[in-house]
């Protein structure tokens, strides 16, 4: 190898590099999972429950089976292996057995030559249901009949809570939970059920390998955990099931759980034909888990000078019909209930219940979003009660390295909360634009509802924090494999294998930047993600993949290069990177049983300017300024992209996004009635990246995807309160409340 350092045109760690998929996505050439095709493939269709809760009396497939073009109709009796699966607890049937527990639960499958034939055949499958009383009010769920006869989450080291339908409950007792302050404020806050609303619906293609196994090409977040759930249901060895990453059109947590993977594979193995499944938009709303709706009571006790003395919280989460990742969401909601503030005493109780509402699980922010909305409303309330500037109050209590969290974990490493707060607060707020203006630049936008009448301006502020990587003792390691050889002109050529899912967040660029930096060459390619040729990377979740993939790829590159430089002409090295180990919480006290329950923390502060038409209750978010603790920005442009996108998702929850249900049935399963922000609803975002390197992480990185979502809901509503003077204790805020109706 040449010893002269070459300038790398394609970008190393810390440089902005254009996404490798940017142009294909903009021009429409990018192949998403819904574009997959195989010669001779059939189309799969899922028959779903029209009831939120019912007993299945009988399923008659005979008419459907006799229809033209139909190659197979399957029910639970055709599942050859395990009948249930789940991310953490196998409580969800592959196909409903004798009972359905949520609206849209899969009951039967059809494979046909044309998707229309499959749909028609699905209509001819006769399922006789005996409707049961649905459990739909989470506050009453613990007094109703249990939805799962044996509690699936019992005996996993969680608190022994005997109430029916408790999925997990946590109590964190810190200091003296009865400690009194000189001032106290309290409130009850609610959040509706948000959807990930990714644009690419659940899709995949299952191809039998002719030897009893199956290849599944699918849009997912974690290839290996898909495989580990799919193989037992099919009655196959893990090696017989290969999962390959297909083009992902957004994920946000909604692709952590399985969707069509087992179903497509069952149909493919049954028919010996490739089978493609693509959910419709309506079906997608029942095809994945959602963000937990929450009801949160909080009380903050403080000194007159504004120091927090005691925070007491009771959090109720609706987990829906199956466990998914609810147990971990419950823990997060409890761990982050106080916010990034130092407090000596706290009592935090958090309960997640089973119900017949749509199942909830992972979504960007993962429990911290709900808590942040409540603790930031409380901090504003406290500032008002004390007559202290809300930014000053937050600075006064800002959490810092060395402080002890309510779980007993001492904050270590990088945690520049005060700096983040200061920098966000220093961003200059734009002047109000003059009237008259194009109505597009007023609340109501294109609707032309005001030319300035009724418009009031508000400025809000919020701070939020969350962990990066998995927690409570889980070792979510990441593997990378690097092959090196001599190419033409004796130049070093590298090929990286990593199963980390590119879900739009930009991990492909991160992996390539790390490999280029470590290998000192541009001749590096990233192989397609597959379980077949590399070990697990862990999930594209918990803002963890930049940290973990960078760690694994760096390790593998360094070892591969060392072997190569020792004279080997071709090397193939696989290495696994582990983050610092975490420990579980004591089930009775909620105190950590080791050094840390979470690997590290990241925080963000946000300032928001809104204009509200207080007569019509319509809003225009004018400007958002934010400072975010990012450790080190590996690809600064991508970090800004994550901050803007994450902010938009939190803004959506603040203003419009809610899955509405009636007796457990979803009533707005479409993009006509489940609204997400458009470009006219989203203001420019001015983002300051606070780069204080995390000592435990490769290159000092942290995660960046979740903090903007955690904080923006709270920050937007803070501004709405400033404009209207209303309490606005529930999101999404309805026009009725903004108009004072």
């Amino acid at each position: 190898m040449s010893t002269t350092a070459r300038r790398l045109e394609l970008g190393r760690v810390g440089e902005t590099t254009r996404r490798v998929d940017a142009i294909p996505k903009v021009t429409g050439e990018f192949a998403y999972a819904s574009d997959l095709f195989a010669a001779g493939m059939l189309w799969g269709h899922t028959v779903r429950s029209p009831h939120a809760h019912a007993r299945i009396v009988e399923i008659d497939i005979s008419q459907a089976l006799a229809m033209a073009g139909v190659h197979g109709v399957l029910t639970h009796t055709d599942v050859p292996g395990a009948k249930t699966y789940g991310l953490e607890f196998a409580d969800q049937p592959v196909l409903a057995i004798d009972r359905v527990r949520y609206f849209g639960e899969p009951v039967a499958l059809v494979a046909a030559e044309h998707p229309e034939q499959a749909r028609r055949a699905a209509e001819r499958i006769q399922v006789e249901y005996e409707p049961l009383e649905p459990v739909v009010d989470p506050e009453r769920a613990t007094e109703q009949e249990p939805l799962h006869e044996e509690n699936p989450t019992a005996g996993h080291g969680f608190r022994d809570d005997q109430r029916p339908n408790v999925l997990r409950s946590i109590a964190i007792r810190h200091g003296d939970p009865d400690a009194e302050g000189e001032v106290s404020v309290s409130g009850v806050y609610e959040l509706g059920m948000q959807d990930q609303a990714f644009l690419g619906p659940e899709s995949g293609l299952a191809v039998p390998d002719g030897e009893g196994g199956v290849d599944i090409y699918v849009a997912t977040q974690w290839l290996h955990v898909d495989r580990d759930q799919v193989a037992p249901c099919l009655g196959l060895e893990k090696e017989q099931v290969r999962i390959h990453l297909s083009g992902v059109g957004g994920a946000f947590g909604g692709r952590e759980d399985l969707s069509m993977q087992v179903h497509g594979a069952l149909l493919a193995l049954h028919t010996s034909r490739p089978v493609k499944m693509v959910y419709s938009r309506e079906e997608s709303f029942v095809g994945h888990v959602h963000r937990h709706p929450a009801k949160i009571w909080m009380e903050h006790r403080a000194t007159k000078a504004g120091r927090l003395v005691n925070v007491r919280a009771q959090i109720l989460l609706d987990g829906g019909a199956y466990a998914s990742s609810s147990a971990a969401v419950t823990s997060n909601a409890a761990c982050f209930a106080v916010g990034p503030y130092s407090v000596d005493n706290a009592l935090i109780e958090c309960t997640c219940v089973y119900s017949n509402n749509p199942p909830c699980g992972a979504m960007r922010g993962f429990g911290a979003v709900q808590s942040c909305f409540a603790h930031e409303a409380q901090m504003d309330k406290l500032a008002t009660a004390l007559g202290i500037d809300p930014v000053e109050l937050r600075l006064l209590n800002a959490l810092a390295p060395g402080d002890t969290l309510p779980t007993g974990q001492k904050v270590s490493g990088s945690f520049p909360a005060a700096e983040v707060i200061r920098r966000a607060a220093e961003l200059p707020v734009p002047e109000a634009e003059e009237l008259p203006r194009d109505p597009i630049r007023l609340p109501g936008g294109a609707g032309n509802t005001t030319h300035g009448q009724g418009v009031k301006r508000g400025v809000g502020f919020a701070v939020g924090f969350k962990n990066v990587c998995y927690s409570e003792g889980f070792d979510d390691a990441c593997a990378a494999r690097v092959r090196l050889w001599k190419g033409a002109d004796d130049e070093l050529v590298g090929e990286v294998h990593c199963a980390g899912a590119e879900v739009g967040q930009g991990v492909t660029n991160v992996i390539l930047q790390v490999a280029r930096t470590e290998l000192g060459t541009e001749n590096v390619a990233l192989a397609p993600g597959s379980t077949a040729d590399v070990e697990s990377s862990g999930s594209a979740s918990a803002s963890r993949l930049t940290w973990m993939a960078a760690g694994a790829v760096r390790l593998a590159c360094r070892d591969a290069l060392a072997e190569f430089e020792a004279g080997r002409s071709a090397v193939d090295v696989q290495r696994t990177y582990h983050h610092p180990r975490t420990a579980p919480l004591d089930p009775e006290t909620g105190q950590v049983k080791g050094d840390r329950v979470h690997v590290a923390y990241m925080c963000a502060a946000m300032r928001v300017v809104v204009e509200v038409d207080v007569e019509l209750g319509l809003t225009r978010v004018v400007w958002i300024g934010t400072a975010q603790d990012v450790g080190k920005a590996l690809n600064p442009q991508a970090v800004h992209g994550q901050i803007e996108g994450g902010t938009a998702q939190g803004l959506g929850l603040a203003l419009m996004e809610e899955i509405q249900t009636r007796d457990g049935l979803i009533t707005n399963a479409s993009f006509t009635d489940y609204l997400i922000p458009t470009t006219l609803d989203m203001p420019p975002v001015e983002a300051e990246l606070i780069e204080e390197e995390e000592p435990d992480a490769p290159y000092g990185v942290k995660g960046v995807g979740e903090p903007p979502t955690v904080v923006s809901t709270a920050a937007v509503v803070s501004a709405l309160r400033d404009a209207t003077g209303s309490e606005l204790a529930r999101v999404p805020v309805r026009p009725d409340e903004l108009a004072g109706l």
Partner: protein, 261 residues
């Protein structure tokens, strides 16, 4: 499914008379949604995109004739003559939808949330319907007979809409929970008809059909109240009846300021 594509109005009418079950399609922004959601599977589509008589707009005997194939993008360019219709057209979907969706489609669907309906109602528009025995004209109010129901016979097609130009004292407003691309939670059009010394108001999404309220020019004070009372809104996933009634009152007051000062 058959797709029948006539090249002239005469041919279109002949086909429609022979095949009354053929569903007319112009921009497809409503019809294709029904097909894609599997809510309708008509035996045939009558594709009107190649019928030149339905396109564009023209002056006719002091009236403006809007072809049923006039797109929202084209209607937006009429803001000098038909400001309220142009403003309403700007609120429809995104640019792609506005390039495809047509005024005739809005009439054919006859949804209580149709954005073009309140402006056309305050203009006192007449709808031209053509069938095998010639054509007839109906006041728009008589054409709209119920939610998603109109007076079109099964062998007829919507050919055009006729409106009288009424000057610039007119406006349209639409309330939605986001600032673009929404179905109206409630909408309102107002225009001043100086010839008849009258103010006309029409509202959408606040009753089974778009409603009309009129008042003499000098008796406009209680219009906000009257409009709110004339509405019969319901609670649904998009909003509450209470909010809709309140919003109509606010919108009417604001429209009066725009049209009278």
């Amino acid at each position: 499914m058959e797709v029948l594509t006539p090249r002239s109005l005469g041919e279109a009418l002949r086909i429609k008379a022979e095949r009354p079950d053929a569903v007319p399609i112009q921009g497809g922004t409503d019809v294709m949604v029904e097909l894609n959601f599997d809510r309708a599977r008509p035996p045939a589509l009558l594709n009107l995109n190649e019928v030149p008589e339905l396109r564009g707009w023209s002056h006719e005997n002091g009236m403006l004739r809007l072809g049923s194939g006039l797109t929202y993008t084209e209607a937006m360019a009429l803001s000098e003559r038909l400001r309220a219709l142009a403003e309403a057209s700007r609120t429809v979907g995104g640019p792609q939808i506005r390039n495809r969706g047509t005024i005739g489609g809005n009439l054919g669907t006859a949804s209580p949330a149709g954005d073009a309906l309140p402006p056309l109602l305050v203009y006192g528009a007449e709808v031209e319907l053509a069938g095998p025995n010639g054509s007839r004209r109906l006041p728009l109010q008589e054409f709209l007979v119920g939610p998603k129901r109109n007076a079109l016979a099964e062998d007829e097609l919507i050919v055009a809409v006729y409106v009288r130009p009424l000057g610039s004292r007119q406006t349209f407003m639409k309330v939605g929970p986001r600032n673009a691309m929404v179905i109206a939670v409630v909408s309102l059009a107002m225009c001043v008809d100086e010839e008849r010394n009258e103010i006309r108001v029409s509202f959408g999404s606040a009753g089974p059909v778009a409603g009309v309220v009129t008042a003499p020019l000098d008796e406009a004070d209680d219009l906000p109240q009257r409009v709110a009372e004339a509405a019969s809104p319901i609670d649904d996933v998009r909003g509450t009846a209470r909010y809709r009634r309140h919003a109509l009152q606010v919108l009417t007051s604001r429209a009066l300021v725009r049209c009278l000062t």
